[in-house]
Amino acid sequence: MIYLQLFWEFFKVGLFTVGGGLASLPFLYDISDKFGWYTHAQLADMIAISESTPGPIGINMATYVGFTSAGIIGSVLATLGFIIPSIIIVSIVSGFLKKFSENKFVKGAFYGLRAVSVALICAALVSVVKISLINIPLFQETGAVLDLISIPGIILAAACYFILKKWNPHPVFVLGGSAVVGILLGFVGLI
């Protein structure tokens, strides 16, 4: 019964994936070895597509692997299996936090946690900047400092920043606008 197996396997992946979608990869390779529903090469393609489509990567992976293994029902069951541990665990933690939010230990923990949360987001920002605004391979090749920074990328970033500050539009307009600019100017060749 592949449906039941898929659900159960992804329930376990959801339970043991800590710290973001890519942490689920070792488990997905393991499932491939164990059941043969998909090959390692297929999994590599699924990772590439999951990273370049909207939605959290972990969820995209679960949906894709589920679909490849057992069609639409498979994709729904894999995704549900993957998120049910989250729903259970977070609901319990959330109840605990509500009850003890005025406790000085809980307050102290969050005093430290908020600083780390901001630091981790800044680190994530650096890794996005590295792949979108900076061209390290080209710089290593030519050694010219101007080749390190993508000028069209910087101009687009400045335009996005200005528009956000001036009109505060919904993020979707900034994302959509940048996609159109990327297509019209052929951004891959420019960065």
């Binding site: 710290g19 541990p85 933690v93 951004f187 960065i191």
Partner: protein
């Protein structure tokens, strides 16, 4: 019922417009959850992110469950988390069924090169807001600087930072602070 539908739709918008993982959804969360609906404060959002890091599950879903739970209990948590996964289901199934070489298409690569630039700016403006709320004294600044540098230059699991920060936060808050800020 109306609130459940709103939770589902708001998180479907957030899920459908998140490019590249849980951190990238921060700007969307701030807009939908904090500014538009008032379901949580900026500070609560940070708490959800921090805790969502070190418990099982992806950050996006964990945050959805936290917010849904706060608004409408368990059923709210279910509505929000189904919302956050719904766009993935539709988009991925469509791509898997029809476009085999989606990520190799030139138009897709160009669009994403543009989108990634916008994601940088969106995360930057979102994190500036959080910085002002979280980095309030010398201790929190030191913690921020150490974790930021370590996570850029060393390959360490974020779980270690989160656990260490919680312990340090408790020690400083309980033993060195008397209702004020660290010296």
């Amino acid at each position: 019922m109306k609130e459940l539908l709103e939770l589902f739709l708001a998180f479907a918008r957030i899920g459908g417009l998140t490019f590249g993982g849980g951190y990238a959804m921060l700007p969307m969360l701030q807009r939908e959850v904090v500014e538009n609906k008032g379901w949580a404060t900026e500070a609560e959002l940070m708490d959800y992110y921090a805790v969502g890091q070190c418990i099982p599950g992806v950050i996006a879903v964990n945050t959805a469950v936290f917010v849904g739970n706060k608004v409408k209990g368990l059923i709210g948590a279910i509505a929000a988390s189904l919302g956050v996964v719904a766009p993935s289901l539709v988009i991925i199934v469509a791509i898997a069924a029809f476009i085999q070489s989606f990520s190799e298409l030139e138009i897709v690569q160009n669009a994403f090169a543009g989108i990634r630039v916008a994601v940088c700016v969106l995360i930057f403006t979102a994190v500036v807001k959080l910085f002002k709320k979280a980095i309030i004294d010398k201790f929190t600044f030191a913690l921020f600087a150490v974790v930021f540098l370590l996570s850029i230059f060393v390959d360490v699991s974020p779980i270690i930072f989160v656990v260490a920060a919680a312990v340090l936060g408790i020690i400083v808050h309980v033993f060195f602070l008397k209702g004020g800020k660290a010296k």
